[in-house]
Subunit: 152 residues, 2 copies
DNA sequence: CTGGGACCTCAAGCGGACTTGAGGTCAAGG
DNA sequence: CCTTGACCTCAAGTCCGCTTGAGGTCCCAG
């Protein structure tokens, strides 16, 4: 049994649904911290699980780890978020999600109309207008913001 | 002036909103083909623009290039899609988009309720339930399908 | 025929988020 | 004390969709 409430990396990883290597990576990236035993082994307070939850939530909203780190750093003293922090950050995320949803809905609706019209040529199609129109529009009009494009 | 209706790579790239290098890459990946001049320079029929439009639409729906290639290969003889093909493929995509939209909406709604509740601990939060619940659920319950998770 | 822009190939690099492997150390039950 | 499994570090590798660079060739207007 572990004496106090410090967790070791394997247990944190298991409970957070991550690989231990991911935790070490996060630490290296400044997203989490750990205390070390005399021998150099990582020990984590339980609060790391909240922090990891926060990281995952942010990732799900589309933030890169860099952005997550930035978001975490707006919390004075790098503490675990309070309700107020959480509300502030989640308002930002909400906007981001709204934007992403709008993009996808527009895409879907464009797709529906394509189904209706047969849309043989795919030109002027709401899903992809890559032809001359796009050529004229610069470097290729796209319907999704960059963050959505790859991966989506 | 170009004699017949064959386009060279730069023009295709410009009109498709891609870099020439991307076209060469696509060819290497088996997504498009080209004919070559005696000297080895690529020439493309106009239909390549439709094909590229198809590729981009598929990417926007979240398909990887591999998947796009697979989708294209379901078209007998690798021909440019007919309306029927298009309808068939776009039905699949529609489902995919619906799924992605549902995920994001669920995430957003979860987020809203979190804002309402304060949700200090982030446990049981709709945005991230990574704690023991996730540990129990296998390798970390996530709210977005893999294609959405990274990038989104 | 020649100049020079557009094209060619092949290999390597990038960015993001990790994973994998080699080689070695720590810690706790028996 | 000893074993053994969990842990450590550091460097390199993976995947995806391209881009970049080096070094060289093509082709067509003048």
């Amino acid at each position: 049994m572990r004496p106090d409430d410090l967790l070791q990396i394997g247990e944190v990883a298991r409970r957070a649904g991550l690989a231990p290597s991911a935790l070490r990576y996060y630490e290296q990236q400044g997203l989490v911290t750990s205390v070390r035993t005399a021998g150099g082994v990582r020990r984590y307070p339980r609060s790391v699980l909240r922090r990891l939850a926060f990281v995952r939530a942010a990732q799900n909203v589309g933030l890169s780890l860099q952005e997550v780190r930035a978001a975490l750093s707006t919390l004075p003293d790098a503490r675990t978020p309070t309700p107020a922090d959480w509300a502030r950050l989640s308002r930002t995320w909400r906007a981001r999600l709204d934007e992403q949803i709008d993009s996808l809905v527009a895409l879907r609706d464009g797709l529906s109309s394509c189904i209706g019209c047969g849309c043989l040529s795919l030109r002027r199609c709401a899903l992809s207008n890559p032809d001359d129109a796009a050529g004229a529009a610069g470097s290729g009009a796209r319907y999704l913001p960059p963050s959505l494009r790859r991966a989506l």
